[in-house]
Symmetry: C2
Subunit: 353 residues, 2 copies
């Protein structure tokens, strides 16, 4: 590739509606992508998964690239997101991670005490995650040259709570018991995770991701006071150390009382779930881009209902530069694929400037 064509490709990417919206610049229409857009709701994805397990798919760059590109093309969205899992970074820290059929992630050696925390491995080199970077490189090669690719990971709190609970949780008793009961061990664990995350996210950028997203999916179980004390310094350290110029998307659910603090922790784009009014939330957040926030269950209804809901959200955004349309959480497995495709078209059509 000549230097000139690299430059042209970079310019095309940088000038894409998604990247422009990340920088709160004017856009020809509101860009849209969907969390978990490559997933079980899509026949093409299920066909690949019929042959390989979830973790194997993550670790096979050709297949990960294939499902990433297929989803982005089929949906006509304005960004691709690398097929991976928010928890992959746990393995090089010494966590024994399994994706049990129908159960989601299971951790066989959960972290429950200060001595468990001491046994966690510092991620000195991220070589063992090369499969993610290779998937990014291959995706970048087959993706439309003007289509941005998003890298991602779980955020420090969500990673820590998974490591401690050993799987999903309703009340986060183990997590909060460690956090409240041994704040030294807690901060040491969060720091170790954060140092690893910085290396991991920047390696995704080096491999070809144009933006990165932190998923703080479980942070909504915390009070604002707990977030400030136990989470904010660590998420902030991660975001501050992402390669300069690379937009960071910062997303959580159940975060209605945490939005100002998430903004303080950082990120160029704050992700909103469906339980906040986008207009009000954006007013609270101030000068930052926002992403959201259709209820994923709206996609189970008729297209006229979906259209009305998309219209409502676009009206709440009011043409203000820096809105990226998305769901308020990931696409659910039983979602009708035609409704997802229709949503993308509807958002493009209704937001034409």
């Amino acid at each position: 590739m000549t230097e000139e064509s690299t430059f042209e490709k970079d310019a095309a990417l940088s000038d894409s509606p998604f990247m422009r919206a990340c920088r709160r610049e004017s856009v020809p229409y509101t860009p849209i992508w969907l969390m978990r857009q490559a997933g079980r709701y899509m026949r093409e994805y299920r066909e690949v998964r019929a042959r390989v397990g979830f973790l194997e798919l993550c670790k096979t760059p050709d297949l990960a690239a294939e499902v990433t590109v297929t989803a982005a093309e089929r949906l006509n969205v304005d960004a691709a997101i690398i097929f991976a899992d928010i928890l992959l970074i746990l393995e090089p820290m010494g966590i024994d991670l399994e994706f049990a059929k129908g159960e989601g992630p299971v951790i066989h050696n959960p972290v429950r005490s200060a001595s468990d925390v001491e046994r966690l491995r510092e991620i000195e080199s991220i070589e063992s995650l090369d499969y993610v970077f290779e998937a990014i490189r291959r995706t970048r090669r087959s993706l439309r040259p003007d289509l941005p690719l998003i890298g991602f990971s779980g955020a420090p709190f969500t990673l820590a709570s998974y490591m401690i609970e050993g799987g999903g949780s309703r009340n986060y008793v183990h997590t909060k018991s460690l956090m409240y009961g041994d704040s030294g061990a807690w901060h040491s664990m969060m720091s170790l995770i954060s140092r690893g995350l910085i290396r991991y996210l920047n390696a995704q950028v080096a491999a070809g991701a144009q933006a990165v997203q932190l998923f703080d999916s479980w942070v909504g179980c915390l009070s604002p006071e707990d977030y400030r004390e136990y989470v904010l310094p660590h998420t902030s350290a991660v975001i501050r150390n992402v390669t300069p110029g690379v937009p960071v998307l910062h997303f959580g659910t159940g975060t209605a009382t945490l939005l100002e603090l998430m903004r303080e922790a950082g990120g160029d784009i704050i992700g909103l779930d469906w339980r906040v009014d986008l207009h009000q939330a954006w007013d609270r957040l101030g000068d930052v881009a926002v992403m959201g926030n259709l209820d994923p269950v709206a996609l189970f209804t008729k297209q006229e209902f979906i259209r009305a809901q998309a219209q409502r959200i676009l009206e709440q955004a009011d043409g203000r530069p820096g809105h990226i349309f998305n769901l308020g959480h990931g696409i659910l497995p039983e979602t009708p694929v035609d409704n997802v495709i229709a949503l993308v078209d509807i958002v493009h059509e209704l937001s034409q400037r």
Copy 2:
């Protein structure tokens, strides 16, 4: 009993710190009770449950009264709450309810369509729930005469979502699909539930409950807009029709964006979960009493930590009349009972006027 002694008992109840706080009158100390205070964390309760199943316990007035009174006396709280379940009212509507071991409630004939809604039975008479009223009468007889007794039920949305999902749910896909997809059937179902609830709550009052609580435990899955359209009119109809003069406690979790609307729906006391700052939430709510809001997991820590957290919440309440101390959700099964007893003492001690 002579008329005079009845009058004296009524006066003692009415002048109790709990009832005074419900009316936002001055109190000698902040009253406290705890959601699910008669529960599995307590040895006395587990001993009763070793002999009878959960639903059988609810339906045996002597035993229900026993666990109600034992918990209130053991903890030295300022109100008792009748031992029952938020879902009991579903049975007379034709719902086949089971409490499977370790699984929580399971409904064998969930409501999924308009024709399922049509098959629901109107609660013309609440005779089949006589066991609840009898438990209240027996509890009232053995309870300290100045200790108020709270009756309760699930709120319309939480009842409807249980009936539709058939059990607990993560995404409420069936509930929202019916709500968004057939709003006529939805409103018809919510109206039927609400009419039954009015009869049920008022019969609890007639049997001897001094206050009633609506638990809208799952309402936090809704956006403010959805709450206004699909929930508010029904909850409001229930609360408006509770026997005049009886305080209504209105509680939900994950309601940070719904508080103003819950206030609009009604209730003399709004329950807050631990994810909102009590001071800020009370400012938003205005002239109403509030209940809350310690994180239930705080009770798993050391008593000095519990003391600091109780102090923080009392400072947020700032001595303003109308604060009832409680957890932000029910006591968790593994909670150390000594910490629960300590919390009650701490709140009484720290809030002495």
